[in-house]
């Protein structure tokens, strides 16, 4: 069975190029697919939808260039939803590379919906190093103005209109984290202590073990990778990066399934052949 041998020895580089071609198809051909929301995405959407008017939301973003594919759609959809509803929010990060990415999305959404900095959103930028999140999250949950002190523009928290009455984590109706990893500190030190609701936006790879937090009601919703972003974008009726990626991903996944089947069939055939030769 020469074909089995050949299939087992396909040059990796051919596979890489084939994959690149497969995921590029939606660039050239308009593809439409249904993207129904899963319960975890619906949970996230409803959590934002149910925030009482005027109540603050905290967004913590840690995604950057390396995770645009997974997280940009999530950030785009959540910010669009908040801006459309006119829900005031604060945003901060524990990754110094993140602000340029989320600010691009926020500024575009603010222009679309006529929102004003300081009243509709406040950016605190890079406030806590990733390694000190446990300390930082606890401190800001206990005394938000005392820990944050001032926003990225240097305005003290007490002088920012949207934050005049903020004291601690109970003044936030919802916390949404968007990044590669789930930020467990918000469960350990905020949700369990102050009862503030938490939504995770994370890379698909990290979702498997995070589902248990939905079951235990420690989080109210979760956006899983580009899929979660795409589903949320469809819910807010503004398709963007998430939908783009998920379309391309479908072609990539189809190719991988075909390759896995072909590789296994050829490996079995090869094994049978070698057993036959030994007999």
């Amino acid at each position: 069975m020469i074909w089995a041998d050949r299939l087992q020895r396909i040059d990796n580089r051919i596979l890489y190029v084939t994959l690149a071609v497969a995921v590029a198809i939606p660039v050239f051909v308009r593809v439409r697919m249904p993207i129904p929301p899963t319960i975890e995405t619906l949970g996230a959407y409803e959590a934002v939808e149910n925030v009482p008017p005027g109540k603050l939301v905290m967004v913590q973003s840690t995604w950057d260039a390396g995770t645009i594919g997974e997280c940009e759609g999530q950030c785009h959809a959540v910010i669009e939803h908040l801006m459309r509803r006119g829900q005031p929010f604060v945003i901060w990060t524990s990754n110094p590379a993140s602000p340029p990415f989320y600010n691009r999305i926020i500024e575009a959404a603010a222009r679309r919906h006529g929102r004003v900095y300081g009243r509709d959103w406040v950016d605190f930028g890079y406030k806590v190093p990733g390694g000190a999140l446990a300390f930082g999250v606890q401190s800001m949950a206990r005394d938000f103005p005392g820990y944050m002190k001032s926003d990225v523009r240097g305005t003290p928290v007490t002088q920012i209109p949207a934050l005049r009455h903020v004291r601690n984590a109970t003044d936030f109706a919802l916390i949404v984290t968007i990044g590669y990893n789930p930020i467990g500190e918000f469960i350990q030190f905020v949700q369990s202590v102050y009862g503030t609701k938490v939504v995770f936006g994370i890379a698909a790879i990290n979702s498997t073990t995070t589902y248990s937090y939905i079951d235990s009601k420690q989080i109210v919703g979760m956006l899983v990778g580009a899929r979660g972003g795409a589903e949320y974008e469809m819910l807010v009726k503004r398709p963007g990066r998430g939908v783009q990626i998920i379309m391309a991903q479908s072609f990539g996944h189809l190719l991988i399934i075909v390759l896995v089947v072909v590789a296994n069939v050829s490996a079995l055939a090869q094994r049978r052949l070698s057993r036959g030769a030994q007999a």
């Binding site: 390396g66 390694g131 990290n206």
Partner: protein, 263 residues
């Protein structure tokens, strides 16, 4: 909860008490049994194969820093690997991701060579501080593996997404690879690309087994007691929940148990 509750404090005391008691017992010389982890045999095999091929090996003690227990487990295994390698006269390249880890890894490698009576085998340039950035670290380690054509690669410690980049490169260059990590998300990549993978708490068991360090042995044994306590609690809860389902919501045992743990 902001402060410890009675239930939480009692649970902590029982679990920590068991660990401390076992550590004290182990330190006093009481034998502590830890079963051998199968992956350790593969570590020895990989070193032997690298010696036959006459190629250097890479041993990465993880992407974690000195605050993570997995790093210490990785360092204990690093010492074991360097000692074994020194016996065979093998060159060991140790890429390090954390600045604080760098001198510690250097010390471990140097001491291991000295302990084997071969201090000349230690080369300070083979313990490399690369970067604390995952992408940069992965790019650097894969580059080294390609250039040095390493015969075996060992990944012992905590890892992030760089795991697959490292392991796939190792597989492509034909290195024998053994991974041991408590980073559960990375285990599948190591399983797919390495010859053997030690996962979860097995990493700690492996390092305790190798080092025979009483603190590590006692701690592992105490944790096993903790697992029995948690398993008993879970079984009691499951039974109470089942009884509650049959009796309707009025089951006192279930409500009492949940109330106790939630208090």
């Amino acid at each position: 909860m902001e402060h410890a509750t009675w239930t939480g404090a009692t649970l902590l005391l029982v679990l920590c008490g068991a660990i401390l008691a076992r550590i004290v017992a182990a330190r006093r010389g009481r034998p502590v049994f830890i079963r051998r982890i199968a992956g350790l045999d593969h570590l020895d095999d990989a070193l032997g194969r690298a010696t036959e091929m006459g190629k250097p090996i890479v041993f990465s003690p993880g992407f974690g820093d000195l605050g993570q227990m997995s790093t210490y487990a990785g360092l204990a295994c690093l010492e074991y690997a360097v000692r074994r390698a020194a016996r065979f006269g093998l060159r060991v390249i140790v890429p390090v991701a954390g600045a604080t880890m760098f001198p510690v890894a250097q010390d471990v490698a140097r001491d291991a060579c000295i302990a084997e009576g071969k201090p000349e085998l230690y080369d300070a340039n083979d313990v490399l501080y690369l970067s604390g950035d995952q992408n940069a670290f992965a790019a650097a380690v894969t580059g080294i593996m390609e250039r040095e054509k390493v015969g075996a690669a060992f990944y012992f410690g905590s890892y992030g997404f760089e795991s697959l980049l490292l392991a796939e490169t190792g597989q492509r260059i034909g290195a024998i690879q053994v991974a041991a990590t408590d980073s559960f998300f990375q285990v599948p990549f190591f399983i797919a690309a390495c010859d053997y993978t030690i996962f979860g708490e097995e990493l700690y068991a492996a390092s305790a087994y190798i080092s025979r360090e009483p603190t590590m042995l006692g701690s592992l044994s105490g944790q096993d007691f903790g697992k029995v306590v948690v398993a008993a609690l879970l079984i009691a809860g499951i039974v109470a929940a089942t009884v509650a389902q049959f009796n309707g919501a009025s089951s006192g045992a279930f409500n009492a148990l949940v109330g106790l743990l939630g208090r």
